[in-house]
């Protein structure tokens, strides 16, 4: 294997930042609070002294970085778990430093992060299904937005959450259908179609919101909302109970979707064929796999998932539709997809991390921290650039993604 020093160099850059943070760490301690209010067993808050903690994480990061240099000189790949440890160390260090002298509500932060991550995860899964089969999906934003709009409209008219969710899935699937038809049948550049479809959907939803919906907001934009469902026993577990098992149906659907997409993609014949089409369509065609049909199916299935993710905005969180309410979530989902290397599980992790960064920003703006919130919001985008530049391991997508297949 060719020696690549990109990963250790990337880690070293972050290590220097970590070192600088530790040198300038203020004295004091940060209080970590784990209580959300519904558990049976209460965990006491515990204070962490800032300076030793900061140095601890810097040393941990230093060890990982040194190890990665060693591996790279031996021409070995830097494994993913090392990257994850490194990321966690830096994130925890920054948290301890950000909340010095204050209380950091761990459980509540994680709850909020999960809520922000749900549409990102659905969107990233849509991207996985689409790009693994060879169609670049820039249109995740449009699929989310269409799902949000359709679910709010249909759930308001019918009063049925189930119908709202189905409408979201169908509309997300249809938006993906536009992407599929133009990129598969008309062989238009997939990136162009994706960008244009996003704007088309922003235009359509905003247009009908301003004309039709606002005329009768009560009848057309007041959908019921999903209630939280406590799963017996599991929801009583400290920290993770209220976090994971006291959620709305959409979140449970999300767990299911992540598992199903992962298993279907990597453990079934269907998934193998799908990936074959995304890597080498000609070979797939030769052995009798229907390339076009597989592409349409997978792209639209992904769109349906993104649509459900969009419904989370209206039926799960806000309770009504507003113009451009997804505000770039589709692009963050795209970032999560790339950061997660087109793998459903890793993409989910990346989406959770991005959701965490977004949520941290809103918590910081409440506690009045002097870190400008814009910089935390930039994090997903900046990290994605770092990722595609190959500084944290090699990022390569499916080989045939972006290339139209022309049957000869």
């Amino acid at each position: 294997m060719k020696r690549s020093l990109k990963s250790p160099i990337g880690l070293s850059i972050f290590l220097i930042i970590s070192l600088w943070l530790s040198i300038n760490a203020p004295a004091g301690s940060t209080l970590f609070s784990f209580n959300a209010g519904i558990e049976v067993i209460e965990i006491p808050d515990f204070p962490i002294p800032v300076i030793p903690a900061s140095w601890f994480f810097t040393v941990l990061a230093l060890m990982v970085t040194a190890f990665s240099w060693l591996l790279s000189f031996q021409r070995k790949k830097v494994p993913l778990w090392l990257m994850i440890i490194f990321t966690l160390a830096i994130v925890l260090q920054i948290l301890v430093l950000l909340f010095v002298g204050e209380m950091f509500p761990v459980t509540q932060t994680l709850q909020g992060s999960l809520a922000l991550s749900v549409p990102l995860i659905f969107g990233a899964l849509a991207g996985v299904l689409s790009e693994r089969v060879g169609v670049i999906n820039i249109a995740i934003e449009g699929q989310l937005l269409a799902g949000a709009f359709a679910s709010a409209l249909i759930a308001s008219i019918t009063g049925s959450l189930t119908l709202g969710l189905i409408a979201a899935a169908i509309s997300g699937g249809l938006v993906a259908g536009i992407l599929a038809v133009f990129s598969i049948k008309y062989v238009v550049d997939q990136i162009i179609v994706g960008v244009v479809v996003n704007v088309l959907i922003i235009g359509l939803t905003s247009f009908f919101y301003s004309t039709v919906m606002t005329r009768d907001l009560v009848a057309l934009n007041q959908p019921p909302r999903f209630d939280r469902i406590d799963i017996p026993v599991l929801s009583q577990i400290p920290i993770i109970g209220p976090l994971l098992f006291s959620q709305t149906v959409i979140v449970y659907l999300m767990y299911l979707a992540v598992a199903v997409v992962y298993i279907a993609l990597f453990k079934t014949r269907w998934g193998l064929r799908l990936r074959a089409v995304g890597e080498f369509p000609k070979a797939a065609d030769t052995v009798g796999i229907k390339v076009f049909r597989t592409r349409y199916m997978s792209v639209m299935l992904g769109g349906a998932l993104a649509g459900i993710g969009g419904a989370f905005f209206t039926l799960g969180a806000v309770g009504s539709f507003s113009k451009e309410m997804t505000s770039g979530a589709g692009y963050i989902a795209l970032a999560a997809l790339i950061f997660g290397r087109w793998n459903p599980l890793l993409a989910t992790l990346a989406a959770l991390m991005f959701g965490f960064a977004q949520n941290l920003q809103s918590i910081l703006s409440i506690t009045g921290s002097d870190v400008p919130s814009q910089f935390l919001l930039m994090l997903p985008y900046a990290l994605t650039i770092v990722a595609v530049a190959g500084l944290v391991g090699k990022v390569t997508g499916p080989a045939a993604a972006g290339k139209a297949y022309i049957k000869s």
Partner: protein, 390 residues
């Protein structure tokens, strides 16, 4: 001249015209569908169908009439200023759209996708605005310095993407998309710092640009049209020269046609990537300077408006040729200007512009679809002509 006539009557231009026509037709149907009068009359469609048809006609005609009055010539206005203002507004909107569109066209012709128009416009506007309000220079020097500052900022911002691609192979589409968000957030941030925020302002807005740094409003303060319009026209010629007559342009196009062959031919691909993206970004940055030093007098978070996306559509519609981009820029400038009046008079939301625009691009990109919709005969021959025209 003969060339122009040929251009108008060849198959590719006919498809372009049909694509624009279809987009407007669908836009009209949406306007009718969302119209309150149409919805009311449709409830008794079968007893009095004429009411329904009249309502449909009124809604569509009313909207497009307002669009025309807002974009070209307001024949209903009472004074001469209001009558000719629409046309100048069209040209004002067309200026940044075309400039940024030229930037995207340079990248497209070189085989690179620059989706980062928004971010580059923002950087151009930030650079120009900062020199414009915080530096004091004599009249004739201030404006060029401010413009150059904006162009440099955006050129470096764009060139960085080219550098990343050359050095690490990072996909420029993903990087530019992410850079758009970074630039927007950065703009919002700097507008809350004393460096950029107007003293005493609560909103994120910069101080007013100094008089010495503003583009000349040659039709008076009643009109927003300014000298940046001529800069835009000049840049159309410059980009035409660059792409078609200069040796750098030849390298750009060679790269766009076949990167491997260009490498074999001795073109330094890495440097060319950086150059392409820097020039592309610089042109988008010029669009930012025209916004902040010309049409508007302040830097605000919405300085890039939707020009970043407009630029992509304009480059596609103009088939990445400078004069095509100019024509497309004028069309979309007219749409933007007209939509403002359409929203005010006919209550048709401005979002209809986005719909029409994206439909135009989708139809342009898929000639078979347009041929199918209009039942155009002899598709094979048409296709050959279309390939030939490219």
């Amino acid at each position: 001249m003969n060339n122009v006539v040929k251009q108008i009557f060849n198959a590719s231009s006919r498809l372009t015209a049909l694509a624009i026509l279809s987009a407007f037709l669908i836009g009209g149907l949406l306007i009718a569908f969302a119209n309150e009068e149409v919805q009311i009359t449709s409830s008794y469609l079968f007893s009095r169908p004429t009411d329904f048809l009249a309502a449909v006609w009124n809604s569509i005609f009313g909207a497009y009439d307002a669009l025309f009055r807002g974009a070209i010539y307001n024949y209903k206005a009472l004074d001469s200023v209001s009558m000719i203002k629409p046309l100048t507004e069209t040209l004002t909107y067309a200026t940044p759209i075309t400039l940024a569109g030229l930037g995207m066209a340079v990248a497209f012709r070189s085989g690179l996708f620059n989706i980062g128009g928004t971010g580059q416009i923002i950087f151009g506007a930030m650079g120009a605005a900062w020199v414009g309000f915080s530096v004091e220079l004599p009249a004739l020097i201030h404006l060029p310095v401010a413009v150059i500052a904006g162009v440099l900022a955006a050129g470096l911002f764009g060139g960085f993407v080219g550098f990343l691609k050359a050095a690490t192979g990072a996909n420029e589409v993903i990087v530019t998309i992410m850079m758009n968000y970074i630039a927007s957030l950065l703009l919002f941030y700097v507008l809350t710092t004393p460096l950029f925020q107007a003293p005493g302002a609560v909103n994120p807005i910069s101080p007013e640009i100094s008089e010495t740094a503003k583009y000349w409003r040659f039709m008076g303060e009643d009109f927003r049209i300014n000298a940046s319009f001529f800069v835009m026209l000049a840049m159309v010629l410059v980009v035409w020269w660059l792409l078609n007559r200069s040796s750098i342009g030849f390298q750009f196009r060679a790269l766009g046609h076949n990167p491997s062959a260009s490498k074999v031919a001795g073109i330094n691909i890495g440097i060319t990537y950086v150059l392409v993206m820097a020039i592309s970004g610089a042109l988008a940055g010029l669009a930012g300077t025209s916004q902040v030093l010309g049409a508007e007098k302040y830097l605000t978070p919405s300085v890039a408006a939707s020009f970043g996306f407009d630029a992509i559509t304009v480059a596609l519609l103009g088939r990445s040729k400078p004069f095509g981009v100019l024509a497309a820029g004028l069309l979309f400038g007219a749409l933007r200007a007209g939509a403002v009046i359409m929203q005010a008079n006919q209550k048709v939301p401005i979002d209809i512009v986005l719909i029409v625009q994206s439909l135009v691009v989708l139809f342009i990109a898929a000639p078979p679809l347009v041929r199918f919709m209009f039942r155009l005969s002899d598709p094979a021959k048409q296709a050959m002509k279309f390939e030939g025209a490219k």
